[in-house]
Symmetry: C2
Subunit: 242 residues, 2 copies
């Protein structure tokens, strides 16, 4: 009897380990689509210590050297301020990706269509879920932010930024799609350039906006799946508008 | 010279009259789609006088007689409270359409796909834009409401209700689509039954929600065009969810 109990315990342990393994895998494929599990990051706007640490790393020369705003006047240098956190880092557009990966540990995914699976939606605002998306020869940044625009009423804001210039961004269209519980919500727009501030895009509400109850309807077990697709064609701008 | 001046004046008058005529026409066809111009109605929640007038009309027998809530217990009688305004009217589901047309002067349109063109979006909240839509053998009610859920921050809420039971409503899917300024927003869901309260659908935010800045981006000259389509197939519920 004791043998069977021990065997049963061992099987349970194996199942638990297997579950932990799957949970730990940050990228997996489901139904032919690349699904990226994105864990939340508390906004560092209110955590000057980490910003200070980032600054210290920059000063130690671990990251590319900072370029000050005066660089705007030099056509060879593009001022590029990291749009996330209150990070004082600045650099060329070409090194933004390595900065985001190395300093902010943001994952980068390949593919024209991916699913962004944001976990722990219940966490209090402000919280960010961020991923980079490499597609059509460019890198994009998807930001999902939980923020209290109106005190006591957190909302979710999702937008896509091109790690490139506004002129380059004009050549793309991104689509964010939520689909669950007999509801479907699609947002299509031209991505903004990372040279524009993500905070202003969100404060203007020129992005996909979800209130908490709608986010709950679209989420499954505390995770929100957002389908992402990027195209180069400007189909919807040329179509006759309704 | 005086003759020419008078002729010119007459031509101007004719142009003005023609313009007024077009403006007054509430339904017209553009680009093959039926476009319905919907003027705003200030929410009567705060105007007990009109509600009292409606009540008076009902009492005078102009409208179908009221059925009190006790009718719920009789399976032959469906309690049907008008979801708009604070109208105390109640009646059978079959007479809701005539009540809405006669008392609240709400237009009814035919067609599987129509464009709802809400005018004067700048008007202060609370304001409603309402239309009935006859399609696939049923009548639907589209409600666009401007409301201040958070004081000083008006938002727009759009939803579609079936003038029928919740079981009937489950057989349909409605789509609301906004398309302008290189942005597209689509909302698809199962319509709610008119037996459920439109106020609770809106307060839950289980509908298309737009903040003021996004509504401005989608509107043209103070009018917001919402493409509406209704289908019977439950395509999106049977599809693999992302």
């Amino acid at each position: 009897m004791l043998f069977f109990t021990q065997c049963f315990g061992a099987v349970l342990d194996l199942i638990h380990l297997r579950f932990q393994h799957y949970k730990a895998k940050r990228v997996f494929s489901a139904a032919g689509q690349l699904v990226c599990v994105v864990n939340p990051t508390h906004s560092l706007k209110y955590a000057p210590t980490r910003c200070a640490a980032v600054q210290a790393s920059t000063e130690q020369g671990i990251l590319p050297p900072c370029h000050h705003h005066e660089a705007v006047h030099d056509p060879q240098l593009v001022p590029c301020m990291c749009p996330l956190f209150s990070c004082p880092w600045e650099g060329h557009l070409e090194v933004v990706v390595s900065h985001l990966r190395q300093t902010h540990r943001i994952n980068i995914l390949q593919g024209a269509e991916i699913v962004f699976l944001a976990t722990d939606m219940h966490l209090p605002a402000p919280t960010d879920w961020i991923i980079m998306h490499s597609c059509l020869g460019h890198q994009f940044l998807l930001v999902l932010r939980k923020q209290e625009k109106y005190e006591g009423h957190p909302q979710f804001f999702a937008t896509m930024m091109l790690i490139g210039t506004p002129t380059q961004a004009d050549n793309f269209t991104y689509r964010l799609e939520l689909n669950r519980n007999q509801r479907r919500l699609k947002w299509e727009a031209t991505p903004r350039s990372i040279l524009e501030c993500v905070d202003s895009v969100i404060s203007d509400g020129d992005c996909l906006v979800l209130n908490t109850s709608l986010a709950q309807l679209f989420s499954d077990n505390g995770s929100l799946a957002i389908g992402i697709a990027i195209t180069t064609s400007k189909v919807h701008s040329s179509e006759a508008e309704i």
